[in-house]
């Protein structure tokens, strides 16, 4: 179906199930309970999950397939955001044109940067992309202030021209973003017992776009083009002597991943029409690298998992403070309680970066294939337990070194 084989179709359906039921899945704990602070099912966080999922999926098409490590992809997300806000200022509050222009502008910008950066490979390529992104950040902050709003960021105002819409509502406020009339902030709340689930229009728009983006990435992975990208990573020498030109393949991957980043930027401003230069800062570029590697670069689902995990930690783990810790360890004798709190404290709240760093190191050292590899290993363990009989065939394919 949809040109996918059964395995890929199941994966797509799994992801679709997860994002559709995310408001339930992410809110497992009843309101007001101890654990309610671990709930992540509120609209802006769920939006961030899927938007960064898109960003990571796109990044993975470049990094996971070709092995070219870009350290400047946040620039495309930032440029997409600015373009989107401008569309809303000038044309309409409908998010569709804004998202489209974000993708197009980010695509053109990545064509330019990719064309130049891809003259080099390896570390030099990474440094070039980093330099371009930092340049874009600096420009957005200073010289380009009329275009980007400088330090305050680019915002909507009450006297935007907005050709196909109104500059201000009757009540004198800035109109809100909508999808053909459906306001992005519209939410429907469902209370079941002491559980509260929120279904937000904006989230479902992002989720639908993310599913399309994920589907396209599966198609790319399984296409001859995707195979060529893996060939770029594996052996460019052989590729050239097979009559293939690696350059346009790599550039196409770069532009496609830039467009994914622009799409993410466009969705961000569709949810919250504000674009700031810090979105292009190098730490933002580094974050998407972490997402891809943590989840599993070069795998289909890995980057989505990585994005989810990092955004969850950033938003949930970072909220835990020492008071909450004291409550957790309250059952212990006072002295031990204080020791425990002191021990755990560096890893939570503002220290969540430390936890992330340690996790990242553990993954890189023990699970080079990321969380996906971890999952596969666990699955294999269970399968081996399940069927002890078929362990003979697996070892046969082991290589016999010649001479």
């Amino acid at each position: 179906m949809l040109g996918l084989n059964k395995k890929d179709m199941n994966l797509l359906l799994l992801v679709a199930g997860l994002v559709i039921f995310a408001p339930f899945i992410l809110n497992p704990f009843p309101e007001g309970s101890e654990l309610a602070q671990f709930n992540a099912g509120y609209p802006d966080l769920m939006q961030r999950f899927v938007i960064f999922g898109i960003f990571a999926i796109g990044f993975n098409i470049l990094f996971g397939l070709t092995g070219y490590l870009s350290f400047g992809h946040a620039a495309f997300l930032g440029v997409g955001s600015y373009a989107g806000v401008w569309m809303m200022k000038l044309l309409t509050m409908n998010v569709v044109p804004a998202i489209m222009i974000s993708v197009v502008v980010a695509g053109l910008f990545s064509l330019l940067i990719g064309y130049i950066s891809l003259r080099r490979s390896g570390i030099y390529f990474s440094i070039l992309t980093l330099a371009f992104a930092q340049m874009s950040f600096a420009l957005a902050y200073s010289v380009l202030t009329p275009l980007t709003g400088g330090e305050t960021g680019l915002q909507l105002s009450l006297n935007d021209p907005r050709v196909l819409g109104i500059s201000a509502t009757e009540t004198g406020s800035i109109p809100v973003t909508h999808f053909f009339g459906l306001e992005m902030r519209d939410s429907f709340e469902l209370a079941l017992g002491s559980w509260l689930f929120t279904f937000n229009a904006g989230y479902y728009l992002c989720a639908a776009v993310m599913l399309i983006a994920f589907y396209l990435s599966i198609r790319i992975f399984r296409s001859p083009f995707g195979m060529m990208l893996r060939a770029v990573k594996s052996n460019q020498q052989r590729m050239k002597y097979t009559g293939l030109n690696p350059k346009p393949y790599t550039l196409a991957a770069f532009v496609i991943s830039g467009m994914y980043a622009g799409l993410a930027g466009g969705l961000m401003v569709s949810m919250d029409p504000l674009a700031g230069a810090e979105r292009m800062f190098w730490t933002a570029s580094g974050e998407v690298v972490l997402m891809a590697i943590l989840g599993g670069a070069g795998t289909l689902i890995g980057p989505v998992l990585g994005a989810g995990l990092i955004k969850y930690m950033e938003n949930i783990l970072s909220k835990i403070n020492s008071t909450i810790l004291h409550e957790w360890f309250a059952f212990m004798p006072d002295g031990i309680e204080d020791v425990m709190v002191t021990l755990v404290y560096p890893f939570i709240g503002k220290g969540w970066h430390l936890t992330l760093g340690i996790m990242f190191m553990l993954v890189v050292i023990f699970l080079p294939g990321g969380l996906v590899e971890g999952g596969q290993r666990i699955a294999r363990l269970f399968r081996r337990r399940g069927a002890k009989t078929d362990d003979s065939g697996a070892e046969q394919s082991q290589n016999t070194p010649a001479e």
């Binding site: 040109g3 084989n5 198609r219 790319i220 399984r222 296409s223 001859p224 083009f225 995707g226 195979m227 060529m228 893996r230 060939a231 990573k233 594996s234 052996n235 020498q237 052989r238 590729m239 050239k240 002597y241 097979t242 009559g243 293939l244 030109n245 346009p248 393949y249 196409a252 496609i256 394919s397 082991q398 290589n399 016999t400 070194p401 010649a402 001479e403």
Partner: protein
């Protein structure tokens, strides 16, 4: 006129004259061997032919067209394929994918954005790739990671990758180096068959005299970057200059 005409090619690396004044004419559908001691410049010559190196002097014509100044992928698309001294394959990909890539390169040229097709839906190319895997006796390894194979298998895979492209000229750099005797004989048979059945001209660099004398119709002896003699195998065997420059050394 041969299919490949090399005239006055010279290449210098710093102070080392790797190729002096090389003239070579390879006749269509023949097997032409280039022999010579280590460091004679054989690999360097092949690098010039495939566009990896640009010579300082001379010209290289393939089917009447100059290859100099063209990039490797363009030269390959003209019909020249190369097997390397150490096998160059796509190690991270499966054996089948390794074969599929040249299939696509042959059909679609050096670049095509076929991002929304599916590799396995290209039935014709899949069948073609499977046939070549059967021909080289590797069909049972189709889903194997190419990097995990033995060196001999990697060589055969590389050769198969070249063959699906149906090149007009196949350049082989020591294709049997490091192979066991049985494998070497299989390779000789395979190469013979390729030459006869597929009308592929071959230019082969080889150390193993057994291989050279079983395959080659003409032999060029290269020493210190210059051709010493060029002749049919029977004449080369007894040639005093060759004995001195090469065979003597190799056996002694």
């Amino acid at each position: 006129m041969g299919i490949l005409e090399v005239k006055g090619v010279g290449k210098r690396f710093g102070g080392l004259q790797a190729l002096g004044d090389v003239n070579l004419s390879v006749q269509e559908n023949s097997v032409h061997a280039i022999i010579g001691p280590n460091g004679a410049g054989k690999s360097t010559l092949l690098n010039v032919l495939v566009g990896k190196l640009i010579p300082d002097t001379g010209s290289v014509m393939f089917e009447g067209q100059s290859v100099l100044g063209r990039s490797p992928h363009e030269i390959n698309q003209m019909g020249i394929s190369r097997v390397f001294q150490t096998p160059e394959i796509f190690g991270d990909l499966t054996v089948m994918e390794n074969i599929m890539i040249p299939c696509f390169a042959k059909r679609d040229g050096s670049y095509r954005l076929h991002a929304f097709e599916t590799v396995l839906h290209e039935k014709e190319l899949v069948a073609q790739a499977e046939q070549i895997l059967i021909d080289v006796n590797m069909i049972d390894k189709r889903e194997m990671h190419a990097a995990s194979m033995s060196r001999g298998d990697k060589r055969r895979l590389e050769m198969a990758m070249c063959l699906v492209q149906e090149p007009k000229l196949l350049l082989l750099d020591e294709p049997t180096a490091g192979m066991a005797r049985a494998d070497t004989n299989n390779t000789i048979d395979l190469l013979k068959e390729i030459n006869e059945k597929r009308d592929i001209t071959m230019c082969i660099i080889e150390h193993d005299m057994h291989v050279v004398f079983s395959l080659a119709e003409r032999i060029t002896v290269l020493a210190q970057g210059t051709p010493l003699v060029e002749d049919i195998p029977e004449k080369i065997k007894g040639h005093p200059k060759v004995q001195e420059a090469y065979l003597g050394q190799a056996h002694g």
